[in-house]
Amino acid sequence: MPSISLRVNGKSVRAEVEGRTLLVELLREKLALTGTHVGCDTSQCGACTVHVDGRSVKSCTMLAVEADGREVTTIEGLAGADGKLSPVQAAFAEHHGLQCGFCTPGMVMSATDLVRRNPGATEAQIREWLEGNLCRCTGYHNIVKAVKAAAQAGGK
């Protein structure tokens, strides 16, 4: 089995993985980082979104071996060391951008990438960006509101 080294949420990780192991399986099953969720098998729902080298990636679409030598951030690594929520996390709580919480980690990771890239994102741009993240609870209204607020607050 190939051996890989990567950094996950700021910590060095070594793991033996099969060639077919997906990044999301490595995170959930080997590293017990269960905040990253699996909601489909066709790379449509975005519940598994994480950051690889700072960019949002659907972790069901990437092999674990492809993450060798790279920097991965999951929802567990987004808040500050003191537990302070990131601006996007805080905005989701403030604007009721989540209900059942299942799509939330992927939404937050995706939105975090957006507000870093485009802090002035308009509502239309936010809706277009979130095309790859499905939510069945909120009707997106409060998610969009939260992302907009986070963008205006300076993102991160």
């Binding site: 969720h37 449509q44 919480g101």
Partner: protein, 785 residues
């Protein structure tokens, strides 16, 4: 008002864990020694099983067991029950064919479970499942409703002649026919309420666990009602007494009805765990969810409305074919009957109504309750008829509604279809919505859109629904096989913090916050001091769970009643401490006071005295915790008005929802932020049904829309921001005056959207989902005509 009490938009207590990845969903749980289950599912819609060969799979690496329907039969377990008995017009009971968790005789839909493979790893189970060889003899697939009831149709179940489960009716046929006979105008409409796939974003999952020492069984499962699952496991599928069974539904990622039912897979994990003596885990792939989660809606309806010269409704009648799918899911029989036809008065004074519903088995996934369950179907047919009536009578769509709304001074209002509405003000929600949506200014917006080459339309729906289910005696009289009360236990701890145990289950509804607000309001404590515990049969008392917008109206009432008992006991303690008579003690804002004096004891002091009873009433038990159960006296009746505005590109048929306004009366609002969120989500599902979603089978019974690639889920870019408002008339029969908000969005919205599309392109009716192709063809056909 207490801080964080009723009416304040308290931020959610559940968010901290969900936002940091610390939620615990079933698939996140790992049990020691756990194995993994993968199901072998039918690729055929309808086929005899001639042989199931498991030898090769059993030899595969890591395989622990391969189990089939024959093993179930040998253990005499695994028959999934129906929870509601409907009688046909002629008095005969519905056909109840039974539903084995693993089928042995024949498969009845694509995805039907034939065998399960249990292995050390998920990959090993998946690989071995591919080695299970099933010999099938394909039979003709009965896919559509018309096909299934045609003479000579193949039978899904031999005992269901003409594939009919029941042929039921409700209402006064003679009176309705008489109303039609004297009508000035009769409007008729044929319509389809499209089959939907619920698609909660968390796929279903289960872990069964068996304790060899005690014989105890534990099931972790993605359920909206763990106690109901335990009851059904005990009384039907497993046959193990409740005290040896524990069902845990931890954080659950959305339900929308689809996680009410007792499913084959969760039973199989538990049964397999007992057989192998190790935990067995199963998590659905999304593809499995599409072919195994109960679907929703799927009605084909002919309906008619009789009107007098002035446009007053004289009578309504309908004939509906309702698709049950291949088996009877638990509450399927009730959905097109008592959750549908009883709503056919809507919010109007229609004096005579008659409904006939024939439930039909087909070779498709079972159909059951999905957000709204029967009430969206009723609302859609009423509101479409009203729009068509306005068109054909040359009346304004608002005027015709206004003329027929039940006036606010007519409550309680007895409908001709069994229900008695307790309260409402339908003109108020209509007026508020018209104003909020600027209905009066629409023609200007239409003209402006036209200048840009777009067709703009506006649609309206006024609706009422019945929820807060339900009085047990009424449900029993109508064929329900369960009671529908709810339980609560409120424990005040010695230093004043509070735990509320509820039988309701939160899978997005925010109960941990709103139920804490009830305690804050009543006891004058902060919501931070209150924790709500749910989802574990070992913790909360038996109760029926969450569906039918019942958690607050039924479960919340139980909580309030338990808190009232706490206050009553607190008054006794306070009276003793204050050396006053109990009758002179009041409780307000967290303080017990002696009327007419300045003597007082804080809630915390009284609580402490209850646990350290040094100075204490002689005949009172120490401690401070109380239980209550609440069986509602009636359904609750939320109502409202939804208005939708769309723009259509005539060249492509693409419809964009530009604005959506919802003004709902859901009774007393506990947390406005949460209520608005519930409306948003429901409206999104309604817009999804109207414009995007629809399960598609081919004529062989293959589910074409079997993944998110083929089934159009609403995405952020498909939806607008919504304008949401509330008007309040209190429910008259529960102490909080609450009605329920979970389903209103999905019930009220589809006809408003379709009304807007019809208005934009100038047609009488268009079927859901109004896809670009349908709209484009409708525009083209209208031009030809």
């Amino acid at each position: 008002m207490a801080q964080g009490g009723i009416g304040s938009s308290v931020k959610r207590k559940e968010d901290a864990r969900f936002l940091t990845g610390r939620g615990t969903y079933v698939d996140d749980i790992v049990r020691p020694g756990q194995t993994h289950a993968v199901f072998v599912r039918s690729p055929h819609a309808h086929a005899k099983i001639k042989a199931v060969k498991t030898a090769e799979a059993l030899k595969a690496p890591g395989v622990v067991a391969v189990l089939t329907g024959a093993d179930l039969a040998a253990d005499k377990v695994g028959n999934l029950p129906a929870g509601w008995l409907i009688h046909s017009k002629d008095g005969t009971p519905m056909v109840e064919p039974g539903h084995m968790a693993l089928v042995a005789d024949k498969v009845r839909h694509v995805g039907d479970q034939v065998a399960v493979v249990v292995a050390e790893t998920k990959d090993q189970a998946r690989e071995a499942a591919a080695l299970v060889e099933v010999d099938y003899e394909p039979l003709p697939a009965m896919v559509g409703l018309a096909q299934a009831i045609a003479p000579g149709a193949a039978l899904v179940h031999d005992q269901a002649k003409a594939n009919t489960c029941y042929d039921w009716h409700l209402g006064d046929k003679a009176a309705t026919d008489a109303a039609f006979a004297k009508a000035h105008k009769v409007v008729t409409l044929d319509l389809v309420n499209n089959r939907l796939i619920p698609n909660a974003i968390e796929p279903r999952a289960a872990i069964g666990e068996f304790d060899r020492v005690t014989g105890d069984l534990t099931l972790y499962t993605t359920s909206q009602n763990p106690h109901l699952i335990r009851l059904l496991l005990s009384a039907f599928t497993m046959g193990v007494p409740e005290h040896k069974l524990r069902v845990v539904a931890p954080d659950v990622g959305g339900g929308f009805g689809s996680k009410i039912f007792h499913y084959a897979e969760e039973f199989v994990t538990l049964w397999a765990a007992r057989r192998i003596g190790r935990p067995v885990k199963w998590t659905a792939t999304r593809s499995e969810a599409f072919m195994s989660d109960a679907h929703g809606r799927d009605h084909v309806t002919h309906c008619e409305l009789a009107l007098d010269k002035e446009g007053r409704f004289l009578g309504l009648r309908e004939r509906t074919l309702a698709n049950m799918g291949a088996y009877l899911s638990q509450f399927a029989p009730s959905v097109p009957t008592y959750l549908h036809a009883t709503l056919l008065a809507g919010c109007y004074t229609t004096p005579a109504i008659y409904s006939e519903v024939r439930a039909v088995f087909t070779n498709t996934v079972p159909v059951d309750a999905y957000r709204g369950a029967g009430r969206p179907e009723a609302t859609y047919l009423i509101e479409r008829l009203v729009d068509v009536a306005a068109r054909e009578m040359g009346m304004d769509r608002v005027d015709i509604r206004r003329k027929n709304l039940i006036p606010k001074d007519k409550f309680p209002y007895q409908t001709p279809v069994a229900l008695q509405y307790d309260s409402g003000d339908y003109q108020a929600t209509l007026d508020a919505a018209l104003k909020k949506a600027d209905w009066a200014g629409f023609e200007k917006r239409r003209a402006e859109a036209k200048a840009r080459g777009k067709l703009r339309g506006i649609g309206i729906s006024t609706y009422v629904e019945a929820c807060g289910i339900a009085p047990s005696a009424v449900v029993g009289a109508l064929g329900g096989r369960v009671g529908l009360w709810e339980s609560a236990h409120v424990r005040v701890h010695p230093t004043g913090s509070i735990t509320i145990f509820t039988g309701a289950h939160s899978h997005g509804q925010s109960h941990e916050t709103t139920f804490a607000q009830l305690a804050a309001e009543k006891l004058g404590v902060s919501t931070d001091q209150v924790e709500v515990v749910h989802g574990d049969t070992a913790k909360s008392a038996f109760a029926m769970g969450t569906y039918g917008s019942r958690s607050l109206a039924v479960g919340g009432t139980a909580i309030v009643n338990a808190i009232d008992k706490i206050i009553a006991k607190g008054k006794k303690i306070a009276a003793h401490l204050l050396e006053a008579s109990e009758g002179d003690v009041d409780f307000k804002d967290g303080k017990f006071t002696v009327r007419g004096t300045d003597r007082a004891k804080a809630f915390g002091e009284v609580v402490l005295a209850a646990y350290i009873p040094h100075k204490y009433p002689a005949n009172l038990e120490p401690g401070l915790e109380e239980s209550a159960v609440y069986d509602p006296k009636n359904f609750t009746f939320p109502a409202g008005c939804h208005i939708c505005e769309v723009e259509i590109d005539p060249d492509t048929g693409v419809t964009q929802v530009i604005a959506f306004t919802a003004v709902d009366d859901v009774g007393t609002v506990i947390n406005p932020m949460v209520v608005e969120g519930q409306v948003h989500g429901g409206v999104a599902q309604g817009i999804g049904q109207a414009l995007l979603e629809g399960a598609q089978y081919d004529d062989q019974g293959q589910l074409l829309s079997g993944s998110f690639l083929g089934y159009t889920m609403p995405r952020a870019g498909d939806l607008p921001s919504y304008q949401v408002g509330t008007e309040v008339t209190a429910c008259t029969h529960n102490p909080l005056g609450v009605k329920g908000v979970g389903e209103v969005g999905a019930i009220g919205s589809p006809p408003a959207v379709i009304g807007a599309v019809c208005d934009a392109i100038g047609v009488r009716h268009i079927e859901m989902p109004a896809t670009p192709e349908r709209v484009w063809r409708a525009i083209r056909d209208a031009k030809k005509a």
